[in-house]
């Protein structure tokens, strides 16, 4: 019950919006599939929704005072922010289930791992952006910079591509042994987030 309340409080969206997002992402991925760009479009959707969602939510909480109330409570801050990012991962993934299923049809099951780890990376980055930003314009700037970086790393084939879940969506790895490497970056981002918030 508490987890459900936490989810609704921190990452909750109305069912109408979830359905609308699911429909919109499905249409976009469906159209992109005609041009063999379905995985790339899905990666862009994850980056935008995963980075901006938690960042803007945290800023809203800072403005309405709920953030301060959480900050002065005895709850462990690393635990809270990791839970926050976790709840946002669910909130971002939920409407993307149909679109992910379509991409999996084309690109195989490796997509699922890349989508999950990519969403974790995006939401943890977004949470970090919201944490360091003082206001809405700061958050927009941070979210834009992070999204831009992730998009660039998605479209350019770099040596680091093996570690980037979004690059794995655009250029699926042929070697299954490379898959565990995808989880490294989200884990590093989570550790960074925990370290950043621990002094709050």
């Amino acid at each position: 019950m508490t987890l459900m309340t936490d989810f609704r409080a921190l990452a909750g969206q109305s069912s109408v919006r979830v359905i609308a997002k699911a429909a919109l992402s499905l249409v976009m991925v469906g159209i992109a599939a005609f041009f063999s760009r379905e995985a790339f479009v899905l990666a862009i959707i994850i980056i935008f929704t995963g980075v901006t969602g938690p960042a803007i939510r945290l800023i809203t909480m800072k403005r309405d005072g709920t953030y301060d109330r959480i900050l002065v409570s005895p709850v462990s801050k690393p635990r809270f922010f990791l839970e926050f990012a976790g709840l946002w991962t669910i909130a971002v993934l939920l409407p993307l289930v149909p679109a992910t299923a379509v991409v999996m049809l084309y690109d195989g099951p490796v997509t699922l791992l890349a989508v999950i780890t990519g969403t974790v990376l995006a939401t943890v980055s977004g949470t970090l952006a919201g944490f360091v930003s003082r206001g809405l314009s700061d958050a927009h700037l941070a979210a834009l910079a992070l999204s831009g970086l992730l998009i660039v790393l998605t479209v350019i084939r770099t040596p680091a591509a093996a570690f980037l879940p979004f690059a794995a969506l655009s250029f699926p790895p042929s070697d299954p042994a490379a898959l565990p490497a995808l989880a490294i970056l989200p884990a590093v981002a989570a550790v960074l987030l925990a370290a950043a918030v621990s002094r709050s």
Partner: protein
């Protein structure tokens, strides 16, 4: 009475120079302590330090035996702060909000919440987004009392509450104090200060010797503000502080009438006909307030006549502030 809160030489300065300087005081278990200060006195800064929201730049503060700068998490387990904001998730009901915020203190939803909410005449099953400012404030208070912490820190707790609900708040505060809590209230309302066991007067960032309500009222200007649903009586140090008060009251509703307390001496004979006519051009509900402000100004400046220029000057000063 043992001291639950012991502050020694607390300092916190904002870059602009405002803040608190060398604040020392003690507050004990079972006590309702009022920290009284006008706008800008440093009251909210002090309460933010006590709430662990900001760390003091100098000095020490022990809360329940734990030092604030060294063991912040332990202090946070002992306090429940309430700030001057209506901080809730609008899309959740009052009960869901209470469940969320009390879970941060590791508390399940206590049975006492319904009793406290009933005392505040609050419907917990409505969406918090639909609450009025007063109801949001009541929900914050209900959550704070239900948390039953050792130290309760309230910043302007009665903002948005009518006089009946203010009384309910102080009854709850008294009950919490009887149960052993130390209740610290920051306010600039003289009526609130009257309910406290002890008053500390905060002026220009420093604590002045223990004050009484009579000390606070002395030299103050009484302002009566009539809203659509209630009448508020406030006190301000000078008419110059009226714009700030009106700004604050606007969050509760648009004032229908603002009356400023009598200045004592009869100076109505100072008015020239032109000045009278100038005031009569203002909306009727403002005329009495303008007259009072102008008369105060004339009295403070030792003017022998109130001319249209004097009215303009007062108007300009009011608008500037």
């Amino acid at each position: 009475m043992s001291a639950t809160v012991v502050a020694r030489d607390l300092c916190y300065r904002y870059p602009g120079g405002r803040g608190i300087v060398n604040i020392s005081f003690e507050a004990g278990a079972g006590e309702v302590l009022c920290i009284f200060g006008w706008n800008g006195a440093g009251k909210t800064t002090l309460l933010r330090v006590l709430s662990t929201l900001v760390m003091p730049q100098a000095g020490t503060c022990h809360i329940g035996g734990c030092e604030l700068s060294r063991d912040r998490t332990a202090v946070r387990r002992k306090i429940v702060p309430l700030f001057d904001a209506s901080a809730h998730f609008g899309h959740l009901t009052g009960r869901e909000n209470a469940r969320f915020f009390l879970s941060l203190y590791g508390l399940p939803l206590p049975g006492s919440l319904d009793r406290i909410a009933a005392a505040f005449d609050l419907d917990l099953d409505r969406q918090a987004g639909g609450y009025s400012l007063g109801m949001k404030r009541k929900l914050l208070l209900a959550e704070a009392f239900a948390a039953e912490r050792e130290v309760m820190v309230f910043d302007e707790p009665t903002l948005g509450l009518d006089s009946g609900m203010c009384r309910v708040f102080f009854e709850q505060a008294r009950e919490a104090a009887r149960a052993g809590a130390c209740v610290i209230i920051g306010t600039n309302r003289i009526e609130d200060a009257g309910f406290a066991d002890r008053i500390l007067l905060l002026q220009n960032g420093t604590i002045c010797p223990a004050a009484s309500v009579e000390d606070l009222v002395r030299g103050m200007v009484r302002v009566t503000i009539t809203l659509a649903d209630r009448e508020l009586v406030e006190h301000i140090p000078s008419p110059d502080d009226l714009p700030q008060l009106v700004k604050k009251i606007l969050s509760l509703g648009v004032p229908r009438k603002i009356e400023i307390g009598e200045s004592g001496a009869d100076i109505s004979a100072l008015w020239t006909r032109d000045a009278e006519e100038k005031v009569q051009k203002a909306p009727p509900f403002l005329q009495k307030m303008i007259r009072s402000l102008v008369e105060r100004y004339a009295q403070d400046h030792g003017l022998s006549r109130i001319t249209p220029e004097v009215v303009d000057e007062v108007k300009e000063r009011f608008e500037q502030r």
